[in-house]
């Protein structure tokens, strides 16, 4: 049998008969362009961090953070964010689990309720929170009965951070629980586990990487919350407020040290959570136990 194909085959020449060389050049060029685009995106995202380091000096940091009480915003932010995060875990975990297992009626409506705070601008959330928990608000008088005030208090700061960050945790936890096959949980109960035991021994370890990522994202959102916070909790002053006030009063030199402080306070948990999640996922997918 004779053919018109050129001598050699694909394995030896790397050329597909009839497949034009120009097409391969275009394909290779597209790959290079995509890589350059990805690199540019990565650098653009890192840009602000690079600038922050570049414009800070040891002198300006000492001047801003040295005086007594200068670190108070840090402690306020850490405390409020930790409490807000605790509340998210306590209230958000059952909600995310029940939603992921389809055990809630009107699930779509419930999901919408979780997403709604994400769609509202934080400033608007702040305004609405005044109506909700402010002294004249719907819940304000009830809160007053237990000696809580919904504006310009530590409690108000926690609430504002909760509203800005909780949807991130609930959505992350929902995705984490949904990734665990419910049949595996059933297997655990068939082997003698009570539902809570199965949750602790099976669901929690398997969803932990996703939960950690959701928790870390929520932490970063809570400690950096500003829009709602500045409306309902101008005092006590947390780090984002301090950065804003420092910028207004002293310009960049007065705000950048606090920005660094905020980054240092906010970032370790997300980074650790990311590294732990990646390691844990690899461990579960891997062949051998450590």
């Amino acid at each position: 049998m004779t053919t018109n194909a050129p001598a050699g085959n694909l394995a030896t020449t790397g050329v597909v008969p009839g497949f034009p060389t120009a097409t391969r050049v275009v394909a290779r060029g597209s790959t290079v362009l995509a890589l350059l685009g990805a690199l540019a995106m990565w650098l653009a995202l890192l840009g602000p961090f690079a600038v922050l380091i570049q414009h800070l000096s040891f002198h300006s940091i000492r001047a801003a953070l040295g005086p007594p009480g200068a670190l108070d915003p840090l402690w306020v932010s850490l405390g409020a964010s930790a409490i807000a995060l605790g509340a998210m875990v306590l209230l958000g975990t059952p909600l995310a689990y029940l939603l992921a297992r389809g055990r809630l009626p009107l699930a779509r409506i419930v999901e919408l309720g979780i997403i709604l705070p994400l769609m509202l601008p934080p400033l608007v959330i702040g305004l609405l929170l005044i109506f909700l928990i402010g002294p004249q608000g719907t819940l304000g008088s009830l809160l007053a009965d237990i000696h809580l005030t919904g504006t310009n208090t530590f409690f108000a700061l926690v609430v504002a951070e909760f509203y800005e960050a909780a949807p991130f945790y609930v959505l992350g936890a929902h995705a984490a629980f949904a990734s665990v096959d419910p049949r595996i949980e059933q297997d655990a109960t068939l082997l003698g586990d009570r539902p809570l035991q199965a949750f602790r021994r099976i669901t929690l370890p398997l969803s932990a990487p996703g939960l950690a990522t959701g928790l870390a994202t929520a932490w970063a959102r809570a400690i950096g919350a500003f829009g709602a916070v500045i409306i309902v909790a101008y005092y006590p002053r947390g780090l984002p407020n301090q950065i804003f006030v420092g910028f207004q009063e002293f310009g960049l030199s007065g705000s950048l040290p606090f920005a660094l402080l905020l980054v240092v306070a906010a970032l370790p948990l997300p980074i650790l959570a990311y590294l732990w999640s990646a390691r844990n996922r690899a461990r579960v997918a891997g062949a051998e136990a450590p």
């Binding site: 297997d187 068939l190 082997l191 003698g192 398997l206 461990r283 579960v284 891997g286 062949a287 136990a289």
Partner: protein, 325 residues
């Protein structure tokens, strides 16, 4: 359905699943094994999941050791799966992916006289060298061995197996099946296997149930059901490949099984049929011939030698059961 005192498992259930309403009723004494055979989607898995407590009954009851564990009525609140002493191997296999093989097998081990030692089980399952591996590193067959081991190590009274060896090499299935049978016998437990492999079903069960479109069509001795199918549909399902009309009777058929035919006329052994070979194809070490009977029906026959197409043959179907539509 009233269970006798020796009855360990009494099932009388109706469950609505997607397009099929599954209905089944049977009783098993301690130590008995039932294989449920049927096509995919017939409702086999639903029966197992109902016994295990993973599916709510639409009607009926499930009793284990005389105790009502599931019922459809409001006052018959089901016993949770963890309290039923039921072990289930599912299809597709589900393992705990964050745990090692050893931890998976030992997961349900509680302090119980029924508990088999995990190390011994791993050895018999051929998993000792993989004891510290996780699920992701295992092949389909190895995963099924782990799932079987996990079930056998638990303190079960009812062992439910849903196609448990489908991914295991055929040659390696027998010792695993024997291990399951032996463990169930040691515990004086009942075992139920569902499968669409008739050989597998007969190898496991003292009793064989045939299920089709949600209905348990026939239940009886594992060999008896195959030799005496109750209907044409049962006969089709258990491998009868041809149906020849019974003379002078309407809607009655001799069910012809390709492995229960001998060449030549032997009227004292069964029904003599004549026909023409239409085609022949290899079938394991033998040949499967498609034959058109003189009366017009078609049937298959397994022969040691391959006749050519158009070959006129006379065969005897050995004691063919008579079935109705």
């Amino acid at each position: 359905m009233i269970a006798t005192s020796a009855t360990l498992l009494a099932v009388d259930l109706e469950v609505q699943r997607r397009q099929v309403t599954v209905r089944a009723g049977f009783e098993l004494d301690a130590g008995e094994r039932l294989a449920i055979f049927g096509t995919s989607g017939a409702g086999k898995t639903t029966i197992l999941e109902s016994i295990a407590g993973l599916v709510r009954l639409g009607r009926g009851t499930v009793r284990i050791d005389g105790q009502l564990v599931a019922g459809a009525a409001q006052h018959e609140s089901p016993l949770p799966p963890r309290s039923r002493h039921v072990a289930l191997v599912r299809q597709p296999t589900t393992l705990f992916p964050h745990l090692t093989v050893e931890q998976n097998v030992g997961y349900g081990v509680r302090r119980s006289p029924h508990t088999t030692r995990v190390a011994e089980l791993l050895d018999r399952l051929g998993l000792t060298s993989l004891a510290r591996a996780r699920g992701a590193a295992l092949s389909g067959g190895q995963r099924q061995r782990v799932a079987l081991g996990r079930a056998l190590a638990s303190p079960f009274r009812v062992l439910l197996l849903d196609e448990p060896l489908s991914a295991v090499d055929v040659a390696a299935r027998e010792p695993l099946r024997a291990l399951a049978v032996e463990t169930a016998a040691d515990r004086n437990a009942v075992g139920i296997l569902v499968t669409h492999d008739l050989t597998e079903a007969q190898a496991f069960g003292d009793q064989l149930g045939i299920i089709d479109a949600g209905r348990l069509l026939q239940l009886g001795g594992a060999h008896e059901v195959v030799l005496s199918p109750a209907s044409r549909r049962v006969a089709e399902l258990v491998g009868y490949g041809g149906f020849v009309a019974v003379p002078d009777r309407t809607s009655a058929w001799f069910a012809v099984h390709p492995d229960r035919i001998v060449l030549g006329a032997a009227p004292e052994r069964g029904v003599v049929l004549t026909g023409t070979v239409l085609s022949t194809r290899p079938f394991g070490p033998r040949y499967e011939c498609s034959v058109r009977a003189a009366s017009g029906e078609q049937f298959s026959v397994h022969l040691d030698e391959a006749p050519g197409s158009g070959f006129e043959c006379t065969v005897t179907a050995l004691d063919p059961p008579v079935v109705a539509d």
